[in-house]
């Protein structure tokens, strides 16, 4: 009943794709959440809508947009290949990009809500005590918003593990390169007699998601002094 080498490869790839997706998009998600929670600027409604678009668009459409923008001929894709040597099409990096775009709205929402619950009066108090804006942010705002940031990261991670539509559209379903857990389950379902493999991968999916949620709850309890993720 234990996963075989090919299945371990799928699990390893899924964890890598999700970790990279969340790790690299978390700072951007925080910046967007900050702008939406605290900023006052023209076009805020539009930015809000754009950030949330992947949540409501059919994932296939998001995948197609990624193909157009980040493919070898796409404006962003060409630029990134020339300047950073990064390519996305049919690569695990593309799977991570797709996962990040799909996870971003969830992360922004969670962080934004937590930033909105930080009482600006506490920040004012810190400033009357001599704290600069940066120290106030580092020692008051960020720690108080931390449970939300953790919640956002975990939601994003879980969403990345489950990402299917945009990934298969953008980078296809290549074993060892872009075949993450949901894609592997989908492939196994097409093969007669592969039910045991399907069950093993499904069990792993459930365990990973459950583990992420429990770990984040434990983290939030320790760092947030009573803040909850769940």
């Amino acid at each position: 009943m234990m996963p075989g080498p090919e299945e371990w490869e799928v699990i390893r790839l899924s964890l890598k794709v999700s970790a990279v997706a969340v790790g690299l998009s978390l700072p951007l998600a925080f910046a967007l959440a900050w702008a939406l929670a605290r900023g006052r600027f023209p076009g805020k409604v539009l930015l809000d809508a754009l950030v949330h678009l992947p949540l409501v668009l059919p994932p296939v459409v998001t995948g197609w947009f990624l193909l157009i923008a980040f493919g070898p001929q796409g404006p962003a894709g060409r630029w990134l290949e020339v300047w950073l040597g990064l390519t996305f099409l049919f690569r695990w990096t593309g799977a991570a990009l797709a996962a990040a775009v799909m996870a971003l709205p969830l992360m922004v929402r969670a962080i934004r809500i937590s930033l909105e619950t930080v009482d600006p009066k506490l920040e004012q108090a810190a400033m009357t005590l001599g704290a600069s804006r940066w120290r106030t942010f580092r020692t008051i705002t960020l720690p108080l918003a931390l449970p939300g940031v953790i919640a956002g990261a975990v939601l994003g991670f879980a969403r990345s593990l489950g990402e299917f539509g945009a990934t298969i559209t953008f980078v296809s379903n290549i074993p060892g390169e872009t075949q993450t857990l949901p894609l592997a389950i989908y492939s196994a379902l097409q093969i007669p007699g592969a039910e045991p493999q399907v069950v093993r991968l499904v069990v792993v999916s459930v365990l990973l998601s459950l583990g992420a949620l429990i770990a984040s709850e434990a983290l939030a309890r320790r760092t947030g002094r009573g803040g909850h993720v769940l």
Binding site: K121, L122, A125, A126, T128, T139, L144
Partner: protein, 205 residues
């Protein structure tokens, strides 16, 4: 001379204005709720910008619209004790009290231990703010302000949320601050008896 205020500020429908010079001890701003007393404290602290006027404490100008002076909040060195305490919920009492101590480098009034003894909160240093009673929290807030190297204190109804026994406790601390630490204090209240007991000068707002 301690506090010199001549300010005007329009906040929605309310026009807030004041023109007075405080004395060296405790100057009370006295008046009904909603008259803008807290707004005046915020102006002195640098949290609210007057439309026009001048604010000076101990001869140093903090704000002057004619001269274009508007000192940053951090540099005014106000020891602000808020009505609602505003202790940082994620820091223990000790960390709360030490939060402003960086700024006090060289001109600290007292050490943490001295402040804790003075305020009778030495046994609370390892507690979380949410476990404190109202009177304890207010004394911690006073300690935090004292340790930040303040040049003057701003106190916004520090007794308002307390029951009778706790009021007496904190009132005694404020009297000792006035008489022993000798910092100029600007004190907001709408309680006549409290103001009569504490203030050397009462300004009706």
């Amino acid at each position: 001379m301690s506090f010199e205020l001549r300010v005007e500020r329009q906040l929605g429908d309310v026009a807030i204005s004041a023109n007075f010079t405080g004395n060296n001890g405790l100057t009370a701003l006295f008046g009904p709720s909603g008259a803008g007393k807290t707004s005046l404290l915020n102006m002195v602290a640098g949290l609210l910008r007057p439309d026009r006027g001048r604010i000076a404490v101990g001869g140093e100008v903090l704000f002057d619209s004619d001269l274009g002076i508007d000192m940053a909040v951090q540099e005014r060195r106000a020891g602000y004790v808020f009505q609602d305490g505003r202790l940082f919920p994620h820091l223990r009492v000790r960390e709360n009290m030490e939060y402003g101590a960086q700024r006090a480098e060289g001109h600290g009034l007292m050490t943490l231990d001295e402040a804790a003894t003075f305020l009778g909160i030495a046994h609370l240093l390892d507690r979380w703010p949410r476990t404190l009673s109202g009177g304890e929290a207010q004394r911690v807030a006073i300690g935090r302000a004292l340790l930040s190297g303040p040049r003057f204190l701003l106190m916004d109804e520090p007794l308002a949320s307390l029951d009778r026994a706790r009021r007496e406790e904190v009132m005694t601390v404020i009297e000792r601050l006035r008489d022993e630490v000798r910092l100029p204090i600007l004190y907001v209240s709408h309680d006549r008896a409290e103001v009569d007991r504490l203030a050397g000068l009462i300004v009706e707002i």
